[in-house]
Symmetry: C2
Subunit: 409 residues, 2 copies
């Protein structure tokens, strides 16, 4: 039995017409002789609407009950999907995460898939049914339905592909694939035929909203090739594959990302003494605040220095409070917050051995007279923080400088 | 442990403000020292909205998938209810039908509760939590979530009260209790302090939309006293109790019902021969069409007669088709459908021994110059079908004739 695993995101099942198109895609695969498992997200904005409803009941909803609530979104998605298949003469059945044998561990809202008992899914597949599985949820050991955290439907699809040993998984959404840069901003951006898991992970870290990092890590570890493609067009998308040997040898830029969702926090006038960075970062870690691009300025003659980092906007208030407490303990001068910043990143391979790649980015920004606030880099990524107003022109300038519109991948 | 079972209907949890009021009622009982189980319906019109959504996907939704879909309504209700309790400092937990140990048998959309494994509910009650249970659903033997049919949340509440041996159950809705007639039509209608299960069953059969018949049958059988009351007012409602011996001895009218949801179907010119009524009724039964008030006219000299009955509006088309097929087989003349009719019923006790009760109704209608199309009666009910336009004035005339505004119950 050849099994196809398809995942449809919220925008791909946002209304009955879109659900019909997604169902037709599943039915076409079934008619080609494949057994079909479809992972379905909550239609459209339903998850956000349910959260808004909970917040009208209480500003601080309990996580277990929030899970019980928002798990209904995917349940609506799978039932409508199965109905659409049956209305077109294809046998189908919808299964919630618990019904599909997806066992989860860890707390509400951030559970992890522990294992998948595939018996029930396989039973329905063998009976010729298209099986629509609710993404983003699993059965907790205490019988609760736990959600896997935002974006977790990708993870459900990848984990099912792994458990069912399909070797591949199609991720349908409203984007046609992975581009060299956001085509809404860079008009000659090019769709990539393939990209490595490592690059996709870096892109996710750089703020590109293609796929959730955890699901790519799982796909890579279990050898599940992904095909990121549009639910509304028939052409191929981008294949996410394991890094090939030949790829490792040369340095190149695959894709750019622009992230406007972060703020910059700076703790100013920190005494230059051992352990300061650790104190600051431990305080932030204890409060669960994600940080990126930690930059510590060189100590000035006055014996104090500054420390800056980026954090998502929705953590800004919490991060500032946490940092101000640390600043008092360290006798630092003050904490500054700048929310008018954007991060431009180039993602690729072999950057370490090719300083030309980072240099090209800096030159492109300099020629466009764009100030660079912060820089960080690794073998797979180089990022510059610029003023928010310069973000889009920076992305276009860098895309042009790398010649990405005429690349070969 | 003294356990209170409360059921809140859809209108009682239609928005966050109403959910808050319902939660406060549960918390008040908890603070009085009772263990509290709350059965919650889907908020507001959610069930109907989900059905409409399914019908946009396919005009004939599969029942199993429709169950998977509409079960989410109650799941939203319980999660919001538990959140509202926790926001007010009371510990609470929401349980779906399957999580609450409610085992169901029978097909999707019309399942019956087979038994309730109360272990999980009792565990949470013993821990001091308010337990919000999703009404209208249970776990089918194959692992599906099956719904109990419309109005099934009442049944969930009654079955839980029975399984938990509470002896009573409060049914909160947007009505203040059971009235001598619909107070929106009859302005001096009076709220009854108590009524028997038998009378409530007859009222449900007569089209009064107070409570679903099945849940009253179960309540009566398992000795669960019901208290039908308003979610928005503090005064007592109507207690539904077992018939008392003293009640059986005298004849009286408790309450009136007006049903505008039915149509009259007549099969005209049926040859007067044995087995005709059986043929017609078997055909209707085979097609699952509910019938009420079957009236066969006396055979005329021509050797043919007419047969009329009432059926709910939403079965009208199906019933007419079924009846026309039967008419062809029986060589009957034609089938007439009249959707401009209303049924006025008086419900009470001891009618058989007191023909005065039926006579009073006919006289009241005659004095108001209202034509009577059909009549039927039993020991507990007398019903007249009148023109739809006369329905409300008929109800007022009969209410006055029985003197119900100044009754003693």
């Amino acid at each position: 039995m050849k099994i196809a695993v398809m995942k449809f995101g919220g925008t791909s099942v946002a209304d009955p017409e879109k659900i019909a198109r997604a169902a037709e895609r599943a039915i076409a695969a079934r008619r080609r002789g494949e057994a079909v498992v479809v992972v379905v997200s909550a239609p459209g904005e339903m998850t956000d609407e349910l959260i808004a409803l909970a917040e009208r009941v209480t500003p601080t909803p309990d996580e277990r009950e929030l899970d019980q609530l928002i798990a209904t979104g995917e349940q609506v998605g799978i039932a409508l999907f199965a109905l659409a298949c049956k209305a077109r003469g294809a046998d189908a059945v919808s299964l919630t995460g618990p019904q599909a044998g997806i066992d989860a561990v860890g707390g509400a809202g951030r559970a992890q898939i522990r294992r998948i008992r595939t018996r029930n899914v396989l039973k329905h597949l063998k009976a010729g049914r298209i099986v629509a599985v609710a993404g983003f949820q699993g059965l907790a050991p205490n019988g609760d339905t736990a959600t896997l955290g935002r974006g977790g439907s990708d993870l459900t699809a990848v984990a099912l592909a792994s458990a069912l040993k399909t070797g591949r998984c199609e991720i349908f959404s409203d984007v046609k694939g992975v581009y060299t840069a956001d085509p809404r901003i860079v008009h000659d951006a090019r769709k990539l035929k393939k990209i490595s898991f490592e690059e996709m992970l870096e892109l996710a870290g750089a703020g590109a909203q293609v796929m959730q990092a955890r699901s790519m890590e799982v796909a890579e570890r279990f050898g599940v090739e992904l095909h990121v493609r549009s639910a509304f067009h028939n052409q191929s998308g981008t294949r996410v594959v394991a890094q090939e040997g030949s790829m490792l040898e040369k340095a190149f830029v695959s894709s750019l990302a622009l992230d406007k969702s972060e703020v910059r926090l700076t703790i100013v006038g920190v005494p230059d003494q051992p352990g300061v960075a650790a104190t600051v970062l431990s305080a932030l870690a204890a409060d669960g605040i994600p940080v990126d691009m930690i930059i510590q300025s060189a100590a000035s003659q006055s014996g104090v220095n500054d420390m800056s980092f980026m954090t998502p906007k929705n953590f800004a208030v919490k991060a500032k409070k946490s940092l101000e407490a640390a600043a008092r303990r360290l006798r630092a001068e003050r904490v500054d917050l700048n929310d008018q910043v954007a991060k431009v990143s180039a993602v690729g391979t072999g950057f370490r051995h090719s300083p030309r790649i980072a240099a090209t980015m800096f030159e492109a920004l300099a020629q466009s007279k764009i100030n660079i606030h912060m820089i960080s880099g690794s073998d797979l990524r180089v990022s510059c923080v610029v003023d928010l107003k310069d973000g889009e022109s920076a992305l276009r300038a860098v895309h042009k400088a790398y010649g990405l519109a005429r690349g070969r991948r």
